[in-house]
């Protein structure tokens, strides 16, 4: 029985029609492909519109179409649209094929004759192929209602709380001993100048005590297997060397510990902590961790002061790392950012000149709970600066370092200006290329800082030096910059320089992405599904990215994204099951000779070997239809639905117009 094929050629406005003669293609299909079974060929301005879809539905019902070819844009965009239309009309959605004559033809050719001929070939290929298509049914699998949130910064916390409040269980995994992320390091937040800890810690406590949240701090994800609705995750809970059941968080161990170490993480290298420590007073959870690399006991075998003084005997030097295996249905990645290493910009002297500070260092200086109790002082620990220069765009918007804009540094620079004024009364200069204060109440904040008397110089600072040229400059840090608005080079002596350093993807973002099966952009941020319309989803179903892991952004945006991801996750959970594409591989066991060549290839662990029958078998639930085993099987015993030999050969024959004009042998 020959199939009854309907061909629909889309103009896509002038996107396709501007280069391809779509009317000609439709007429040609009706005339020349009649032998293949084409009984109707139409062209329409916008096939994806509801009217366009109705055309297809009507023809299916009235003409009894058994196959449909839509020649339009890439399947990425509208395959689902047309498949749904077919389904609504009663035709199995997998009997619909998309022929891309936009991305593959009109967008890459300018010669109309060539483009039209190519479009015809593409349509011919699609028609030949669709005839070989088989009707397939989606496989439904249940969704595990648990969720994994990786990263306990503000975005991760927000996401976890929303899902937990909806009544579903969340595992919140955090690499550091406490949740809170970078926001816990800040002093005040712009533009409201809310104390960062004051607005963050209530959320932290909520997350820490929520009955639906399992908090796993000082832990890392080591392996992810499975697919949306059914992820199997392995988490390494690193040894704290503290028994959490017995520890009361009294803090005596920290007090008594004799080993002081520079705190590179929380105090940004400006302060100290002990070898056994909680990173900050409001840490959640409140259990300390022991830093094995610096603990005297682990190095030399002596001390054990913490153990001696612990009132509940909670110190456990023999504690081992624990491996946990959990099953979740969805995963939210909220792994945050790293600060740009300002030592790379050697002309700013960070690391060489003592009184040059980075943004995180300044936050710690300014913070009342910081190493200087909130006093803004120079590197000597005591002198209050009388003049401060704040440099914007350090390591950002710069082809020598990071090409992109880090979004928050202008507001951050203004915030620093305000704080310095408030605390020290010093003269403050801000050096900028452009003032980027775009969001709600941001430009008003700029106005406020202007009112306070900060001196703004429009110019990217060329260098910070201590080579004085005259008495005025002696003993100071001299900022050399072109004041572009005044049109001349200026040398401005200051006591302290603050670098508004840019944000960077985490150093291990690529490896983390690989583990979860998502990709990173050229700059290293995780790639979202669509930059405009789907910023929290990824190309991998069930994995979401929120906060700075997706790209530099401020706190309100991070919170919004965290909530957005939660909505998507809840949507999936409430549907109870997810429909899997039926594009799968399967083994014809009569042909399988048990050579095991395919056994090691499956990235989804869907292949198993049945010893008794000495043949291979594929689990359709785990199989993602990637096609690796189909290609590899030397006996041709594995076929992939949707990509069979017959379909591919038919498509090639169609493209070559084989069935229309015989090739001269």
């Amino acid at each position: 029985m020959t199939e009854r094929v309907g061909v629909y050629v889309c103009h896509c406005g002038s996107n396709i029609a501007g280069t391809v003669d779509v009317v000609d293609v439709a007429n040609w299909a009706a005339e020349k492909l009649g032998r293949q079974g084409v009984i109707i060929a139409r062209e329409y301005k916008f096939m994806c519109s509801s009217l366009g879809q109705e055309l297809i539905e009507k023809d299916i019902k009235e003409l009894g179409l058994t196959r449909v070819v839509v020649a339009a844009c890439s399947p990425h965009l509208h395959e689902k649209t047309f498949r749904t239309a077919a389904k609504n009309a009663g035709l199995n959605p997998y009997l619909v094929e998309l022929a891309s004559i936009r991305e593959q033809v009109s967008w890459v050719h300018s010669d109309k004759a060539v483009a039209t001929a190519k479009a015809k070939a593409v349509v011919s290929g699609a028609v030949s192929r669709v005839i070989e298509n088989a009707a397939l049914e989606e496989i439904k699998v249940p969704i595990n209602p648990n969720t994994l949130v990786v990263g306990g910064g503000i975005a991760g916390i927000q996401s976890a709380l929303e899902i937990a409040n909806a009544g579903f269980h969340v595992y919140l995994v955090e690499r550091e001993p406490s949740i809170g992320g970078h926001m816990a390091q800040f002093d005040k937040t712009f533009p409201t100048l809310d104390c960062s800890a004051c607005i963050l810690t209530p959320r932290m406590v909520e997350a820490g005590t929520h009955p639906n949240i399992t908090l796993l701090t000082w832990s890392e994800v080591t392996n992810v297997a499975g697919y949306v609705g059914n992820f199997h995750v392995t988490i390494k809970k690193k040894a704290r060397f503290i028994n959490e059941e017995l520890c009361t968080g009294c803090g005596i161990c920290q007090e008594k510990c004799p080993k002081k170490v520079i705190d590179d993480v929380y105090e940004a290298g400006l302060g100290y902590r002990k070898a056994v420590y909680t990173p900050f007073a409001q840490a959640v959870p409140n259990f300390p961790v022991m830093d094995k690399e610096n603990c005297t006991y682990f190095i030399k075998g002596t001390c054990k002061a913490c153990e001696k003084f612990c009132p509940t005997g909670a110190i456990d030097f023999n504690q081992q790392d624990e491996m946990l295996h959990i099953d979740v249905g969805n995963i939210v990645l909220a792994t945050g950012y790293d600060l740009f290493d300002a030592r790379r910009v050697s002309n700013y002297g960070y690391g060489r000149l003592p009184n040059v500070f980075t943004s995180l260092e300044f936050e710690r200086l300014s913070n009342a709970a910081g190493p200087t109790s909130g006093n803004i002082v120079l590197r000597d620990g005591k002198t209050t600066p009388k003049s401060v220069g704040i440099i914007h765009c350090v390591g950002s918007r710069d082809k020598n370092f990071n090409n992109y804009c880090s979004v928050i540094c202008c507001m951050q620079g203004l915030k620093f200006a305000h704080l310095v004024h408030e605390r020290t009364g010093a003269t403050v200069y801000n050096f900028y290329i452009d003032m980027r204060t775009a969001y709600k109440a941001y430009d008003e904040f700029y106005q406020r800082v202007l009112e306070e008397g900060t001196l703004f110089v429009r110019g990217k600072v060329a260098e910070v030096t201590n080579a004085a040229r005259n008495e005025r400059e002696k003993g100071k840090l001299i900022i050399q910059v072109e004041d572009t608005l005044a049109g001349k080079q200026r040398r401005i002596p200051v006591d302290m320089v603050i670098l508004s350093s840019g944000l960077q993807p985490r150093a291990d973002a690529k490896e983390v992405g690989k583990m979860f099966g998502i990709s990173c952009s050229m700059d290293g941020w995780f790639t979202e599904k669509h930059p405009k319309l789907d910023p929290v989803a990824t190309m991998t179903e069930g994995i979401y990215i929120v906060g700075c892991a997706q790209g530099p952004k401020d706190i309100p945006s991070s919170v919004a994204q965290g909530a957005a991801a939660s909505a998507r996750v809840l949507d999936k959970i409430l549907q109870k099951e997810v429909a899997l594409e039926p594009i799968k591989a399967s083994v014809n066991q009569a042909l399988c000779s048990g050579c095991k060549i395919c056994n090691g290839l499956c990235p989804f662990n869907a292949i198993t070997f049945i010893e008794d029958d000495k043949v291979t078998s594929i689990n359709p639930a785990l199989c993602q239809g990637c096609g690796t085993c189909v290609a590899a099987c030397p006996a041709g015993a594995i076929s992939g639905t949707g990509f069979s030999n017959e379909q591919i050969i038919a498509q090639i024959d169609g493209l070559m117009m084989r069935n229309l004009e015989p090739i001269v042998a």
């Binding site: 520079i262 290298g269 400006l270 290493d341 030592r343 790379r344 050697s346 002309n347 960070y350 690391g351 060489r352 003592p354 190493p371 200087t372 002082v377 120079l378 590197r379 000597d380 620990g381 005591k382 765009c393 918007r397 710069d398 082809k399 020598n400 290329i433 429009r458 110019g459 990217k460 600072v461 060329a462 260098e463 030096t465 201590n466 080579a467 004085a468 040229r469 050399q480 910059v481 072109e482 004041d483 572009t484 049109g487 001349k488 080079q489």
Partner: protein, 530 residues
């Protein structure tokens, strides 16, 4: 490149503004200029050491360029004041080839005769004339002709320097093609039982100064090749690299002039090496830059090879490895070998290392530890046992040819360097570049007069100190010919003092906040300091 300018001009859509100016300047610049990418951030204007003397900051000049203000741009003194220290180039966030655009503007200004002060263009033309006649620069003749034309009153004061140039040596050898220099091998064979190690073999491009104003550099280099088992084979019939003068006249002849040396060197590669070493920073920069631009912009490479073909030569960009002498000493020979060869450590001698600007920048081949504060010279001097003082101006420009063209500007730059070194307690400055040495040495007197100061800061070549450390006598390494005498400074190292390691100071209580660790570009990759 933006296509709009040509079409718009032709369509008559432009009026007084000459929007084709940007395109024209871009086309005429070596490499890919990226001029259209300028975001007017002002880094260039902020970095420029001579910005205060310029009519327009570089940034402003580019804004005018893009606005099509042709006459104002070409009349501006800005390109003429550019000392090509490349600070702007390495810092520009949009990778605009600023210094090379300045060269283009110089050429266009000469062509359109729109310069206001003729000192600089005339100097360039004199230089070019000299090179085209003799093939190599002849500083005495050049200076004489130039000063007679523009600064006659300065001539008497320049006499000591003239005599210091050793007339006979300089002009007399010009006719000879193959210059041989003492122990530098032309035909290396086994020496003293040690087989020739092709690893230590290099093609030497001496550069014009080594015969005249930097004779001491040459002599001291000769004295250290043996202890370090270095084999330098001079490139036959090499010509002047064009310094900074030729680049401002005309693009293709300038690069062909440089590339001729590369072509000649590539013919000598079968002696076992493809590395060209140049002791002079400007020569090094020119050779390295030409090789890089010929690769970056194949049309430049093709045109240059067309010119070279007229002389039966050709050069395929990328064939040779161009390096500076100090690069070879620190990274190939290695600080360990140097330390081993030291018999008379320079302990007690307080030096500041002055790398100069053209060495660590623009560094297209990524050889240096840092663009701003490289540590190669510091480390090498430490290996000799000297007391190295941290010198923030180690790569700030000495003024280059401004001593010839705009002396006051040059004196300001020299003053900054010398006074800062003095401020930090240095007994001498040590450098790697003949131009830097000459400027700071020969013009220190005039600078002192200009500022009413009384500095006496000797400046020697690092190879001279190496020679001393290897046990050579001062006269063997050209010490004594410098105008600002190093006698007093060297008196400090007359006695051998054993070097002791200071124990790490115990951490004091009130020491202030901790500093982040010291870091350089090659952190982890190259460990120059042991």
């Amino acid at each position: 490149m933006p296509q709009m300018t040509d079409e718009r001009v032709r369509a008559g859509m432009t009026r007084e503004e000459d929007l084709s100016l940007l395109n024209e300047v871009s086309m005429k610049t070596a490499g890919v200029s990226h001029l259209e990418m300028c975001i007017q951030c002002g880094t260039c204007g902020g970095s420029c050491p001579v910005a205060a003397d310029m009519d327009h900051t570089p940034r402003m000049l580019f804004a005018m360029l893009r606005a099509g203000m042709r006459e104002e741009v070409l009349r501006s003194n800005t390109p003429w004041l550019c000392v090509s220290c490349y600070h702007c180039v390495v810092r520009c966030p949009q990778e605009v080839h600023i210094a090379d655009v300045m060269y283009t503007l110089k050429g266009m200004a000469i062509h359109a005769k729109l310069y206001t002060d003729s000192t600089a263009p005339h100097f360039s033309q004199t230089f070019v004339g000299m090179v085209e006649t003799f093939g190599r620069g002849y500083e005495l003749g050049l200076a004489t002709r130039h000063y007679l034309r523009h600064f006659p009153l300065r001539l008497p004061g320049m006499m000591p320097m003239g005599f210091g140039h050793d007339l006979e040596g300089a002009y007399g050898d010009r006719a000879e093609k193959n210059q041989t220099h003492g122990s530098i091998d032309e035909d290396p064979g086994p020496r003293q039982g040690i087989g020739v190690d092709l690893m230590n073999k290099y093609l030497l491009y001496p550069g014009c100064s080594m015969d005249s104003s930097a004779k001491a550099y040459m002599e001291s280099l000769n004295s250290i090749v043996e202890p370090l088992d270095l084999h330098l084979e001079e490139i036959e019939d090499w010509n002047c690299c064009g310094a900074t003068e030729y680049l401002g006249i005309n693009l293709i002849p300038a690069y062909s002039l440089i590339a001729r040396n590369l072509a000649l060197a590539s013919k000598q590669m079968d002696s076992g090496t493809r590395t060209v070493v140049a002791p002079c920073s400007a020569c090094y920069l020119n050779l390295a830059k030409a090789d890089y631009y010929m690769q970056e912009r194949p049309t430049l490479g093709a045109k240059v090879n067309e010119a070279l073909a007229a002389g039966g030569l050709e050069y395929k960009a990328g064939t040779l490895d161009v390096r500076h002498l100090i690069d070879v000493l620190v990274y190939d020979v290695g600080l360990d070998a140097i330390r081993k060869a030291v018999t008379h450590p320079l302990s007690g001698l307080k030096v500041v290392p002055y790398m100069g600007c053209m060495l660590p920048r623009p560094d297209y081949q990524h050889r240096w530890s840092d663009h701003e504060h490289p540590t190669e010279l510091d480390d090498l001097l430490r290996a000799l046992g000297a007391d190295v003082i941290d010198y923030p101006l180690t790569t700030s420009c000495c003024g280059g040819h401004m001593t010839q063209i705009g002396p006051e500007t040059a004196f300001e730059l020299i003053h900054r360097l010398v006074s800062d070194a003095d401020e930090r307690g240095a007994q001498m400055m040590v450098t790697v570049c003949p131009m830097c040495q000459m400027n700071i040495d020969a013009y220190q007197n005039e600078m002192n007069h200009f500022f009413g100061t009384n500095f006496h800061m000797p400046i020697l070549f690092f190879t001279q100190l190496m020679g001393l450390a290897f046990g050579k006598a001062p006269n063997e390494v050209g010490i004594g010919v410098e105008l600002v005498s190093s006698r007093n400074a060297l008196a400090h190292i007359g006695v051998e003092v054993p070097v002791t390691q200071e124990p790490a100071a115990p951490r004091k209580k009130d020491e202030g906040l901790p500093m982040p660790r010291r870091w350089t570009k090659h952190e982890g990759k190259k460990e120059a300091v042991k």
